[in-house]
Amino acid sequence: MAMLYVHVPFCPTICPFCSFHVLRPRDDLVGAYLDELGRELGEVAERSAGAAIETVYLGGGTPSQLTDAELGRLLDDVRRALPVAPDAEVTLEVHPGHVDRSRARTWEALGITRVSVGVQSTSDDALRRLGRSHDARTALDALDDVRGTGVTLNADVISCVEGQDLAADLAAVVARGIDHCSVYTLTIEPDTPFARRGVRVDEEVERRAILTAAEVLGAAGFERYEVSNHARPGHRCRHNSGYWAGESWFGVGPSATGHEPGHVRRTNPGFEAWLDGGRGAPTVVADPEVERLFTGLRRIEGVELPDGRWDAEVDRLVADGLLERRGRTIRATAAGVLVLDSVAATFL
């Protein structure tokens, strides 16, 4: 089995905290973008040797920046090039300002099974601080509009924004009937306006936010299945779970990364070079086991330890109360999740 990630680099405005590969909306470039994407899907088809595609993720950027006709063409191209399984999970990332009831129905009709809305917060004040181009009302309405359809509904929330009441934000999105919630602590990425302005996030605030998210969402019937991801039973994101489980995926679009069968990694160049036919060179992942452990530990249910490796390290981390071990399965404890990067670094 394999997965497909499609990077759509267009956004309505560029948020000052974001480090994804994005462009301002350029209607004139969309045609060329879709043409090139079609070509790249053809290349992938040659490499994938007919492997069934179990999940498709349209991310970005903001895929909802494309018109529904453009989205339809994109999905057609995907299906024409690759054998997408009939029960595939197909996720669309959307900006709240792009959502209305009729578009939501169209998305469902196009075969989208999961919509992820970039709510970020339900407080206008926090949204302003984040430099977002939508307000709380728009975000909540967007959730309402998608909920009416049959797709799985996710809300992205950013925590640790000054003045934000995280519990209230989470209660508000839960009340709109979401099935899934990703709660990310605000990360100051290098070379962003936030980094240049010297915005800082206090570690203790982050710690409390992580605990609050698990608590509030847990009480509302959500299961935490990854550091930042919570789902109602049966609604986990299969695509992201695949990343953390070490599955293979193909990546198309500018800056997209793929981790193809045989542990071949490719990372595409940025928009201009990609549009000129530039593609990432294949490199073989040196020690895939390390990577599998590194990402697998993010899953709350844990990961299988390969035979004969890292037993001493694991024993030490267990003694420190950072890992739990049952047979060959290891998982981070509540304390371990909070310092997971340094735990994972032990295996590098």
């Binding site: 990077h7 602590t185 992580i210 990364t257 909070l338 310092v339 340094s342 670094a345």
Partner: protein, 593 residues
């Protein structure tokens, strides 16, 4: 070669008075270096010397000047490298004593001048830096006459920067410094005054022929080492090493004899000819006694054998440090090393890292204590962690220094205050002139080791200079302070301090370590304890949160690399029990502000 046409000299002075710069002008004047290759302080050839702008090793060079051969040795001025000066002087008949015309006589001017007098050497005194606006040649000449007894009218005035007066100085060298004596037909006696290990050629020695003739291909006997080797190459540094067929009495040059065993051609060795040996070796050198000690440990325990080998090779080039194996509970196998001072310690550590590609940890410097235990037995302890339990100790005596401080008289009060606070005892206070004083103080070596010199400099705006020599032992009210990391005592951090200062020391130490030890996955309590009693504590708080919020597919390899890089940084750390401690933590231990 005609002995009357040879002059052997060393340039001696206080640090930074311009010895190496003067050597530059002499190299130029004698056409020894291609102008295209010339650079400032040409003879300071080690990277460390160039980076720090000081001379660490003596350097000899053979110059041709006015039908004469001048063998010149440039020496270091820093007090920690005094052994380089004394070895140089045994190869010469005279010295140029250089005095900075803006600074006047400084502590090592005196010390080095006395050394030359003890060696019966002819002294040519010169005032340097007369180009400086702040130069005061009149006052300096007066000082030299009054303090050193050298008549003012014999003191030359030069600028090593502009070259002014340098030809006259060389003329004076030829006129005033006696030619060497020696019998070319007597059995060979040559004194090795410096050696280093060359990875391709083995031991390369600098030597001075006293009697007889040193010939290429001769079978040589190294008298102290009782070893015989053929003279593979004999030559002179011009300054480029250049082979010569032979060197006669009075000449200075180098010798390569294919020696791989670094024990065999040490400084102070006498070389003679195996077929016609001298009956007596020359008088060798008295190796100086180390004053400060520290443990050197490889960060990677597997490097221990290589550290030993490197210490052996380095000691050939610098026999003023000592080493002996020791083990530490915290650091494993290493060596207890003795040095002439803190700068010396730093230089040796850096040379080991650079020249031998080692990563090492140096523990806090200590002095050697004389401990009387119950029953009257006395033991010497140069590693605080080896101090017997306090209950068994009757008395601890610590080494003292007789220090000489020269400074402008305006700073007298500030210096007295400082010496008092360092438990000093005044021996002498003398006005050298209305503006300058000489102070004699007896001070505990341990106090001087810590930061005395830095403080002396800062309290006198850099105008005071310091020289010292060992002055025996005195009992003191000393105690051992242990440092515990996460509950376990770390022997490498133990220290001996004066009881009155122990709490202050404990607080400063625990605070300093709190800053130096990076956060870990768990809280790390740091305690200072005297006997069993905790006298200070601090805690390195664990990470509150250290986890990437969003890890999507495209981010995995970037994030992994980032963590790998952080982990690489940890390679410079030593795991003590469960705690990662960076290299600096060990050496900073005694450097408390």
């Amino acid at each position: 070669m005609d002995l009357s046409r040879i002059r052997n000299i060393a340039i001696i002075a206080h640090i930074d008075h311009g010895k190496s710069t003067l050597a530059d002008r002499m190299l130029e004047l004698c056409g020894a270096v291609d102008p295209r290759d010339m650079r400032a302080q040409y003879l300071d050839s080690m990277d460390l010397e160039r980076e720090r702008g000081i001379t660490i090793k003596l350097q000899s060079v053979r110059l041709d000047y006015r039908d004469h051969v001048v063998n010149l040795i440039d020496t270091p001025g820093h007090v920690d490298f005094g052994y380089e000066v004394s070895r140089s002087l045994a190869a010469t008949e005279g010295v140029i004593l250089l005095v900075d015309a803006a600074q006047g006589i400084q502590a090592q001017t005196l010390a080095n001048c006395y050394l030359a007098i003890e060696n019966d050497l002819e002294i040519v005194a010169a005032l340097n830096k007369i180009d400086l606006p702040a130069a005061d040649p009149e006052r300096c000449c007066e000082e030299i006459e009054r303090i050193l007894g050298i008549p003012a009218d014999q003191v030359l005035r030069i600028s090593a920067k502009t070259g002014e007066g340098v030809p006259e100085l060389l003329d004076a060298v030829i006129e005033r410094i006696p030619a060497p004596k020696g019998d070319p037909d007597a059995p060979l006696q040559a004194l090795i005054f410096d050696s280093h290990y060359d990875q391709f050629r083995g031991v390369v020695s600098s030597l001075r022929v006293m009697n007889g003739t040193l010939r290429t291909d001769a079978k040589l006997r190294f008298m102290q080492a009782a070893a015989v080797h053929p003279a593979e190459e004999v030559g002179c540094r011009l300054p480029t090493p250049t082979p010569f067929r032979s060197l006669g009495p009075g000449e200075v040059g180098y010798l390569i004899a294919g020696i791989k065993d670094v024990g065999e051609a040490r400084s102070g060795e006498t070389v003679t000819e195996a077929s016609n040996p001298a009956t007596e070796p020359l008088q060798g050198y008295q190796e100086p006694k180390p004053m400060v000690f520290c443990g050197l440990y490889p960060i990677d325990g597997d490097e221990y054998p290589r550290l030993r080998e490197s210490l052996d090779k380095l000691r050939l080039n610098d026999s003023s440090f000592t080493f002996a194996p020791e083990t530490s509970g915290a650091l494993g196998f290493g060596f207890r090393c003795g040095f002439l001072g803190l700068l010396h310690m730093e230089i040796v550590r850096e040379r080991l890292e650079r020249e031998f590609d080692l990563s090492i940890i140096a523990t806090a410097p200590s002095v050697a204590y004389r401990v009387t235990v119950r029953g009257g037995r006395e033991v010497t302890v140069d590693n605080p962690s080896e101090l017997p339990p306090m209950g068994e100790i009757e008395q601890i005596a610590e080494p003292y220094l007789q220090t000489t401080i020269l400074a402008p008289s305006d700073y007298t009060g500030a210096i007295l205050d400082l010496c008092q606070s360092k438990r000093g005892e005044m021996i002498k206070l003398e006005y050298l002139s209305p503006e300058r004083i000489e102070l004699g103080y007896k001070l505990p070596l341990a106090e001087v080791v810590i930061d005395f010199f830095d403080q002396l400099k800062s309290r006198t705006q850099g105008y005071a200079s310091l020289d010292y020599e060992p002055a025996g032992y005195q009992p003191g009210n000393l105690v051992k302070v242990d440092i515990l990391l996460a509950g376990d005592p770390v022997d490498a951090f133990s220290s001996v301090v004066h009881r009155d200062r122990s709490e202050e020391y404990g607080r400063a130490m625990t605070e300093k370590l709190r800053e130096l030890i990076p956060r870990q996955q768990f809280d790390v309590p740091i305690q200072a304890a005297l006997g069993g009693r905790v006298i200070a504590r601090s805690t390195v708080k664990a990470y509150r949160k250290d986890v990437t919020a969003k890890l999507y597919g495209g981010d995995i390899s970037r994030k992994k690399k980032l963590l790998e890089k952080q982990k690489q940084g940890k390679k410079r750390m030593k795991a003590i029990g469960r705690v990662e401690v960076p290299q600096e933590a060990f050496i900073s231990a005694l450097r408390l502000d």
